[in-house]
Structures are given as C-alpha cells and as structure tokens.
Amino acid sequence: MSLQKPRILVIDDERIIRDSCTRILSSEGYEVRSAANGVRGLELFGEFRPDLVLVDLKMPGKSGMEVLEEIERADPNVVKIVITGYATVSSAVDSMKRGAYDFIPKPYTPDEISLIVSRGVERRRLLLESEALRAEREKTRGNMISLVSHELRAPLAAAVQYLDVILAGMAGEVPPDVIDMVERCNMRLRELLDLLSRWLSLATFDPVRIAEHFENIDLTDVAGKSLDALRSLAEEKKVRLISQAPRGLPSVKGSQVLLEEIFTNLVSNAIKYNREGGWVKVALDSNDQQVLVEISDNGIGIPEEHLPRVFDEFYRVNGRRTAPVKGWGLGLSIVKRMVEAHGGTIDVESRFAKGTTFTVTFPMVIESQRET
C-alpha cells in the first residue's frame, strides 16, 4: 500500500514554525495543513484526516500532551511526532509513552525535519499495511466460521433430524434391524457434527477477544460443576471421583464457560482412559501467585514416547479407529489453547499402566484487583 500524497498536520502556536514546516514538507511532496492551537488542530484532524501529525508540546490553551492523547484515542494508527525545545526532552520522552512516535527538538534544520517526517510516513505505511492484513485475516476467519458452521453443518443437521424423526417412530413403523442401521447412521453423523464443532472451536479460537470478557472465577465452583456433569459417566465406567479443595481458594481471571470446558475435558479423559474400580482425583491448591489444579488418575496411562505430542492437533495415542475410546485428537490441543488464553500452563506426567497427572496453573487474582 502506498500513500499517494501523505497528509501532514502541523499544530504549533508559533507562526514561524508552522510556516517553515509547511514550506519544507510541501517541497518534499507532502500535503500540509496547519493549526495555531490545540482546539483548531483537533478540528482540522477530523476534517483533513492526516497520516501524520506534528504537535508542539508547549502551547497556550489546550496542551500538546492533551492533543496527543486525543489523537491517540481517535486513531492510534496516525503517526504522532512532537516538536519540543531542548529544555523539555524529558517531556518528549513522556509524550512518546503516550503514543508519540518520535520527537523533533527545536531548533531544527530542514534536513532533520524531513528525515524524521519521512521515517514517520514510512511508519504510517507499515501501520496501514498491517491493519489491512489484520482486517483481511479477520474477514477470512469470519467467512470460515460461516462456511464451516453453517454450510457444512446444515446438511448434516437436516439428515440427522430426519433420522431422529424415524427413530422416534413418527414416520411409521420400521423393522428392528433397520432401526439398528438408522441408529448407526445417526451416531456416525453426530460424530461428524462433533468433529466439526471441535475443529471450529480450535480454528477460530481468539485469545484476545476471549480475554475481553474475563471475570473473576472461583475454580472450586467450576470443578464442582464439571464433576457433577460427569458423575453418570464415572458411574457407568465404575470410576470413583475424588475432589480436594482448600477453603478460600483465590479467584482466577477467566471465562466460566472455557474453564468448565477445560475441567470437563481433562476429567472426562481421565474417566474414559481408566479401568473398572479406578479413580480420578481433582485437587485444587494455590501458592503465592498461582492457583494449581491437579487432575490425576490411576488409569491406563500414556506411553512415554507419546507424551511430547499429546497436545498436538489431531494426535491420538491410539491412532487406530479400533481403539477402545473414540476421539479426534483435538481435545487436549483445545484445552492447551484455552489454558494459555488464561495466562496459564499445562503439563502432563504419566506412567504407562499406572496413571496420568495433568497439572494446570492459572495466575491468581491479586486481592487489590478483586473489586474490578
């Protein structure tokens, strides 16, 4: 992307500075406008839509720093350069912390100003380019969500719903052996729907967007809910569920839905890859910075050579379709991403035929942050 004729706005109360900037920069091929104070400068900013703004820090009325902040809020991609006297280098540094890209000390030579401005314009070009790429990526992602979520799911859903109607006996009588086949069809199609939704949540997982909606969460409550939801599975597999949590466990910042998903995923794995009479233990604890979650079992374990890859996408320890437990090998990679989106870590230790322990940590909410 190229800027045809980069637009530059000069905001300075000294006429001589405005005129010299305009003269120097116009001769370099820029389109230049200027304003004599902050208020007028911000008005012009809205009308003129500059690529780059030069702001004098010391102006009567609205200060350069305020102007800088308002422009940063309005459009962080507009490059801001402050003009400042030698005596105020420290305030120039301060202004850079507030979004200014560079500063020009007074007095300056024409070469200095054109060099700094051309660097600033280059910066603007890069910012616009990366913004365009980001928008493009966002669009592709959005299209993919629509495509996968709707176009692929819809025909499957329509077929499954017919099978449901047949199985419910609403389409007339069906011979028992045919019912069995219809049930198999239904099950296989539901597996495919499940795969789609897992793949989709992995592919569209956006930690930044998710973090925007974080709240303070009590993991004791999350663990309890997940265990309750899995109690019938545990009974069916004859696996005992044990939970341990200290009173007053510190909160973590996170998403209730995702945290439940993490627990449910790890605990249900521990139940499925277990044996009759086995146990699954969920233990919560904390140190001075983190909340610790340990999900352990005395089940079938994971052979050592597989351990480094269990968090990889589409990796299955039992890679064959005849494996005792059905799965797509996406569960743990989703769990890992969700944990990392919470600023946490996940590790696994396992001994084949002895059992497996997943250790998950989350940064705890410090007491002073709790009010938010």
């Binding site: 979520s149 709707h150 449901d164 989709l200 909606h213």
Partner: protein
C-alpha cells in the same frame, strides 16, 4: 393424536428441516404452517395469525431470520407471540464464549439438529409463556 388447536409457523429455507420439524409438531397435535423465506413468513403471519413461530436464523442472507424477528417485534399484533430461533450455527463453539449480540436476543434458541423431545418441550414452554 389430539389436536391442540395451536398453529405453528415454521420459517426456514431448508425444505428438509421444515418437513422433519413439521412431522414432529404434527405428531404432538399442532397445526403446522410452512414458509420458505422471511417474506413468505411475514405474509403467512398476517393471513394465518399463528400462535408460535419457529424461525431459522440464516436463510437467503445471514440475518434474514433476525430481520423477521425484528419485524414481528415491531408489529403491535405480533409482538407478544412467542418465537423460537433455530440455527445450524455451532452454538457451542466460539459463539458461546462471547456475549450474544443484541439482535440474537431471543427467548428460545435451539441448535439444529433438534431432537424431537427437545423441540416439543421448547414449543410447550414457549406457548406457556405467551
């Protein structure tokens, strides 16, 4: 099957979905009306005065269903009739993690495929609410 005396209008551009949903509803004694676009849905809504609407979210356009709901909401005659929004969009995945958009705000939201008993339960609840 004993007739309930209640009329349900299904608005969905997927004829397979309309058919299977219709069978389920009829089996429970509801009278079923069909519309295959938002426009047809609103026309049938005026002429038939259904007691309940089942509306697909994405039809010709991604928000056609939402527009139908908007129109029903703004009309004095239809604004209090219960509506069930149905979609094939994956509600478990990324959608669930974010607060639902304003235009998705609907008392009843189901994801396709809807198991027959779940559909009937939802219809019953929705009718009770009205």
């Amino acid at each position: 099957m004993k007739a309930t005396g209640k009329k349900i209008l299904i608005i969905d551009d997927d004829p397979d979905f309309v058919r299977s949903t219709g069978i389920v509803l009829q089996s429970a004694g509801y009278e079923v009306l069909e519309a295959f676009s938002g426009k047809e849905g609103l026309e049938k809504s005026r002429s038939e005065k259904p007691d309940l609407y089942i509306i697909d979210l994405m039809m010709e356009t991604y928000s056609e269903g939402a527009n139908v709901i908007q129109s029903l909401r703004e009309d004095e005659e239809t604004k209090d009739r219960p509506r069930i929004m149905i979609t094939s969009v994956d509600l478990k995945g990324p959608w669930e993690s974010y607060p639902q958009d304003e235009w998705l705000a609907c008392d009843f939201l189901l994801q396709k495929p809807v198991p027959p008993d779940e559909l009937l339960k939802c219809v019953e609840n929705a009718l009770k609410r009205s």
